[in-house]
């Protein structure tokens, strides 16, 4: 894959497809097996969050480069209700659903860069990057 791909998140089967596609690109970027597993797990968490809290969304999967390394970047976006209190949403165990509250906080620990923007009533945009070592 040379160009970024964008996949829809509209059902549980999409979460599986996203995991598979992220795995393929992670191998292509040269991430270690552990790092592949981490970014695929983060993708699964974020995609499920979009599904559960926003009714769906989309994920963009792309290969990025800085001066020295290649990396995999995921951009997960939705047009859902947004997150009113981002700091609180990033606390382990905080959830407004019926999960464990580890999706956001846990995903943040699994990646190298994590950016979350959200506007209540408009949606949420989460960008995560894992760099090859």
């Amino acid at each position: 894959m040379t160009s970024p791909s964008e996949l829809p998140i509209s059902g549980n089967s999409d979460v599986v497809l996203i995991r598979q596609q992220v795995r393929t690109v992670a191998v292509e970027v040269g991430l270690s097996l552990v790092d592949q597993t981490k970014i695929v797990t983060a993708a699964s968490e974020l995609a499920r969050n979009a599904l559960v809290y926003a009714g769906g969304g989309r994920v963009r999967i792309e290969i990025v480069h800085n001066n020295v390394r290649a990396g995999l970047r995921l951009t997960v976006s939705d047009d859902g209700p947004g997150i009113p209190d981002i700091d609180q949403a990033l606390v382990d165990g905080w959830t407004t659903g019926n999960g464990l509250g580890l999706g956001l906080s846990g995903s943040r620990r699994l990646v190298d860069e994590f950016d979350l923007r959200s506007v209540p009533g408009e949606g949420t945009l989460i960008t995560v990057t894992k760099w090859a070592r």
């Binding site: 549980n12 089967s13 979460v15 599986v16 995991r19 598979q20 795995r23 097996l33 552990v34 592949q36 597993t37 981490k38 695929v40 797990t41 699964s44 968490e45 499920r48 382990d92 999960g99 464990l100 580890l102 999706g103 906080s105 846990g106 995903s107 620990r109 699994l110």
Partner: protein, 125 residues
Amino acid sequence: MDRVPVLKLGDLLIVSIQIDLQDQSVLALQEDLADKVVETGARGVIIDITAVEIVDSFIGRMLSTIASITRMLDAETIVVGMRPAVAITLVELGLSLGGVRTALNLEKGVALLNHLDGARAVTAR
């Protein structure tokens, strides 16, 4: 949706997950296992995740739930075959799978169940 088959071997139930798990498949497995434990009177359940490439918080929580449900139905659940990368990722994610017994492989899982059963027989005496 793919359904994960539950195999009966003596008084054990064995589940080997060979598919990329959808949330519905995991929920169905939970119900199938609860039914099968009662139906067969199994004393142990072994879930083999050798082929599972990732365990996220949903799948992890379901493994804990399955272990609690079968324990309530008098059967112990052992999760076997977790890949090292999956273990590392789970811990970093913040999931410790509390209450879930693990063994490195199927053979050790069966040995652990036999051991637990022996201990239980002694206590019951």
